[in-house]
């Protein structure tokens, strides 16, 4: 796989940004912790931005198409000067007339005066669009046009900057514009963030993002789902290893996802939540039920809940040995939108109210 193709993968982009905000050594880091070194710390991942009511009303009444609940990839904040960075990652640039423009308008307004009102004590914010480096110019043009349009509409967008990712030799280079340079008061305009990149090895660091999406490389299509499934399986094992006999253990896809993601699941967009729940239900819970329904009476899947109860220690050992066995395979392909056990109260009610970019 060519590393260049990976730079367009949104999960890889967000994951790389998260690693850049994680504390690591100055030398021998896994990913150069650029943002961490500049004093920025993680505030939110994929958390929808809520506009103050007057602005939300103005957005609703505007003739422009503006996303009323924009969801940045992540927001970083710095205590010393209360500055913040608001990231949006894209695989490609787009024009001011495209369907993505409404989301961009939402982001531009979020980093305006609304930002400090919503996320006090942060005082300033800069919107950072991250995309493959060769797309930077076209993206800059688009955001400048959208900014002008919003100002014409008497709205107050915030400042923006454009960041690029490029493969140079065996390095992945992260670059930024002068706006970002002066906002942070730093001398450089780019930095190597990942080294020793080769064509025969996927350069991705450990995945910190939970996604049910296909990987950009078709040969690794199921990779992100495999990561989620393995983590769910690990969480189940950790919980069940300490579970006593004769007591019923039950969990739902949401419960186990909340535990596995340490609560981050609750902050994902609805559509993503539904897809992740479906993945867990179809590819993990259903697989468990199918394997054990004729072998152990205490294991069942009912209305989206997985129930496990052992009376004999042999039952527990047999189940845990099976779950622990590396030869036990869990399908990682994307589940169909509808599964036989997906009960209406599990997903459909959420589907109905879904608003997603």
């Amino acid at each position: 796989m060519k590393p260049e193709t990976l730079l367009k993968d949104p999960v890889f982009q967000l994951n790389l940004l998260l690693w850049m905000a994680m504390e690591q050594p100055d030398k021998d880091y896994r990913v150069r912790p650029l943002f961490y070194r500049w004093g920025f710390r993680l505030m939110y991942i994929e958390q929808p931005f809520s506009f103050p009511p007057p602005l939300a009303a103005a957005i609703k009444d505007s003739e422009l198409k503006i996303h009323s609940n924009p969801e940045p990839e992540m927001i970083l904040g710095r205590d010393k000067d209360q500055k913040a960075l608001y990231f949006e990652a894209k695989g490609d640039s787009f024009s001011s007339g495209s369907s993505n423009a409404s989301q961009a308008c939402g982001h531009l307004l979020a980093v305006g005066p609304a930002f400090s009102e919503v996320l006090k004590p942060r005082e300033q914010c800069l919107l950072c669009y991250v995309l493959p480096a060769e797309k930077r110019d076209k993206m800059a043009e688009c955001l400048s046009e959208l900014t002008a349009t919003l100002i014409e509409e008497k709205m107050k967008p915030g400042p923006h900057s454009i960041h690029g990712l490029a493969v140079r030799g065996t390095d992945i280079v992260y670059s930024w514009d002068q706006c970002f340079q002066s906002y942070l008061d730093i001398p450089e305009l780019e930095s190597v963030v990942l080294s020793d990149v080769t064509e025969d090895t996927n350069p991705s660091p450990l995945i910190l993002v939970f996604s049910d999406e296909d990987h950009h490389d078709p040969t690794m299509k199921d990779y992100y789902r495999e990561v989620v499934i393995n983590q769910i399986r690990a969480t189940l094992l950790c919980e069940l290893k300490n579970h006593p006999l004769s007591e019923t253990y039950f969990t739902t896809p949401e419960d186990i996802l909340m535990k596995t993601t340490h609560g981050r699941f609750g902050y994902l967009g609805h559509k993503r939540q539904i897809a992740m729940r479906r993945l867990v239900l179809s590819n993990v819970f259903k697989r468990i039920e199918d394997h054990w329904k004729d072998k152990q009476q205490g294991i069942s899947l009912d209305a989206g809940k997985l129930y496990i109860k052992w009376v004999l220690s042999g039952e527990r050992d047999a189940f845990l040995d099976w779950l622990e066995d590396r030869r036990t395979k869990f399908e990682a392909s994307k589940p169909l939108a509808e599964t036989p056990d997906a009960t209406p109260d599990m997903f459909d009610s959420i589907d109905a109210q879904t608003q997603e970019d």
Partner: protein, 426 residues
């Protein structure tokens, strides 16, 4: 059969006096270059915070009642442990007092015993199979920090002892990549209680890197040569045991990587002081580790909704060959393996895997990136810092004797440097 406890124990001081008698007898034996009775030894254990179903932490009594047939509380923090003991001569099994458990705090216990090394280690080894207990892991950098910051300053004329052990267990044929558990069991016995050689010329010997050295000399002599030796031969970074010379006379206390401390002095109280000293060091280091891995998570939890846990990054001095890498990845996640990890490796290249798995000992999640040149581990907030020390100790012992490691941005050597900063309360 050896008597392992005093008769009619009224209080813990009956036990101290009994162990004192054994210590004197044992020390006399050592002075005559032969031990007549096993030495008194302690095992420093970590109590893992596995909450019960009602959300309450288990008490030491609750843990040990599931591990041994009988326990008897002597005072608030001192408990008699009774277990089945096999007589080596008659092969009969009888129940007797094997040792005493002292609760140092909610998280750390010391188990004192005068049972012979092999059965004592097996007994404790069985206990730490429980997810409630773990060894304390005095990794090589921690032992090195203890040497640099403390032992090497106890007087150039004192006798010191350092044991180095590295065994590249993945550098061998596919069908034999397990550690020599019997070797492990007898290792400290050989060096601890007997000078007899244990060569077995008939034993099959695989061609693999295996280095075990004992350096016993005056502290001043060791100081002069250690650094140069280490720079020239990487396995000498894999420090596995260390003698802490006694302050009160001849002899000392041998500390091993798994938290075993063997008394080679004639005074049990001095031994207990050393156990207490090492417990305080280890506790401080675990606090440091957990602060480095999950910094300030309590105070900022409400606002910062992001990813928690700084990574443990380990870099090997020499990259592993592809064959060793493959064997390690294939074996490290199997049940009977010193790494005690569970997971399904996902290959990302010839010498790179990601594993989103669990610590098989504590049953807590852990995510790992393993390559030929190093390892990255992310442990979720709230998991135990002991896992970090176990990983470092095992990587140096079994995979790469010379490593550099960081927890977040903090060098691992800085974290364990605390070892030289805890005052000794003799």
């Amino acid at each position: 059969m050896q008597t392992l406890s005093p008769p009619h124990i009224q209080d813990r001081f009956d036990v101290y006096r009994f162990y004192n008698g054994l210590s004197v007898e044992g020390k006399e034996g050592l002075d005559k270059r032969r031990t007549r009775i096993p030495l008194v030894k302690s095992f420093l254990l970590e109590h893992i915070d596995n909450k019960r179903n009602d959300g309450r932490q288990k008490t030491p009594e609750e843990i040990f009642r599931t591990l041994v047939p009988e326990i008897r509380r002597i005072d608030d923090t001192f408990t008699e442990i009774r277990d089945d003991v096999k007589d080596t001569e008659s092969k009969t099994i009888s129940r007797q007092t094997t040792g005493f458990l002292e609760v140092l705090d909610n998280r750390f216990f010391a188990y004192y015993t005068c049972e012979a090394s092999i059965p004592a280690k097996r007994r404790v080894g069985r206990w730490v199979q429980s997810p409630d207990l773990d060894h304390t892991w005095f990794s090589s950098p921690l032992l090195q920090a203890l040497w640099n910051g403390d032992v090497s300053k106890r007087g150039d004329d004192r006798f010191g002892k350092l044991i180095f052990s590295h065994e590249s267990i993945f550098d061998m044929p596919d069908d034999s990549a397990t550690n020599d558990s019997e070797d492990e069991d007898s290792e400290e016995t050989n060096t601890e209680e007997s000078d007899e050689e244990n060569h077995n010329e008939e034993k099959v010997e695989f061609e693999r890197r295996k280095a075990r050295f004992e350096m016993k000399d005056r502290v001043g002599k060791i100081k002069q040569s250690l650094q140069t030796l280490q720079e020239n031969y990487a396995p000498l970074y894999a420090l596995y045991g260390l003698r802490l010379p006694s302050f009160s006379g001849r002899g000392g206390h041998d500390l091993w990587q798994n938290g075993q401390i063997t008394n080679r002095t004639d005074c049990f109280e001095a031994h207990r002081n050393t156990v207490n000293y090492l417990y305080k060091i280890y506790k401080a280091i675990l606090d440091n580790t957990e602060e480095a891995a999950w910094p300030g998570t309590q105070s900022k939890q409400a606002f910062h909704m992001g990813t928690r846990g700084a990574p443990l990054i380990m870099k090997f001095d020499e990259p592993l060959s592809e064959a060793i890498f493959n064997r390690w990845v294939q074996r490290a996640f199997q049940k009977k393996n010193p790494f005690k990890l569970w997971g399904v490796p996902i290959s990302l290249g010839r010498t790179k895997v990601h594993v989103y798995g669990a610590d098989r000992h504590l049953w807590q999640p852990i995510n790992l990136e393993i390559t030929a040149s190093g390892m990255v581990a992310i442990l979720p907030q709230g998991t135990c810092g002991n896992t970090i020390h176990r990983l470092v100790a095992n990587v140096q012992h079994y995979v790469s004797p010379k490593i550099e490691a960081w927890v977040g941005g903090t060098p691992y050597t800085e974290i364990v440097k605390q070892a030289s900063e805890v005052p000794y309360e003799a």
